[in-house]
Amino acid sequence: MQLKIQYYAVMREQAGRSEESLETSAATPADLYGELIVRHGFTLTREQLKVAVNSEFSDWSRPLSAGDAVVFIPPVAGG
C-alpha cells in the first residue's frame, strides 16, 4: 500500500526531505519505522519518538491503511 510520510526537524534533515510517498507492506507505524531507519539512517530509536497518523497521536501498533499520513515526532522543544 501507499503511505505518505512527513518529516520535521532532525528527522527532516536526516531524511533529506520534508515528505515522501512510499509503497510498503508495513502493517504498523513500528514496522514502518523499522524500514525507514535502515533506509534513511535515522539516529533516534523508536523509544525516543512518538508517532502521529493523520495528524493525531497514535499507538505504534495501530494498523495502517492505504493513504495514511505518518509523522515521526522527535523530542519536542517549544517555548
Binding site: Y8, V10, Q48, E56, P74, P75, V76, A77, G78
Partner: protein, 158 residues
Amino acid sequence: MRFRFTQTAIDTAEARGELLDLGAGGYVSFEGWVRDHNEGQDVIRLEYEAFQELAVKEGERIVAEALRRFPVRHALCIHRVGTLALSDMAVWVGVSSAHRGEAFDACRFIIDEVKHRVPIWKKEHYRSGDSGWVNCERCAAAPHHGHHHEPAVSPVHK
C-alpha cells in the same frame, strides 16, 4: 482559537485584548525570549519548526485543560515559528482570572505543557558555527532525570 502560530512578531497588545473581562481582577502573562546561551554555548539565532496540524490540536487541548482545572476567565497561547534573533519572543501565554493565584497556576501549566507536549522543535545556531536541535531530556530514552531539567542539545555538526 486559543492556541495559534505566527510567522511574524507576536502582537501581545492585541493578544492581551482578547483576554479583557470586567470580571477579571488578575492577568498573568509569560513570554519566552531567545537567550544568548544554552548549555554553555553562545547562541546567535534560533529556528522554530512545528507540525502545525497536530500542534494546534494539542495546544488547544492544553488550554482547554487549563480552563477546566483552574477557575480562570480566559487563556491564550501564541507560538512563533521561523528564524528568530536574540531577545525575540518565541512564545506568549496570557491568562485572565477573577483572582490572581489561579491565573499564575494556569499560565504556568500552559507553558509547561506546551513545552512538553506540542510538536514544535528548535534548532540553535552557535557562535562556533555549530548548530543543534534542542531536545527535552524528559522525552529522551536515557538518562531519566525527572521532569524539571533544562533542555539538552543533540549536536548536529555541519
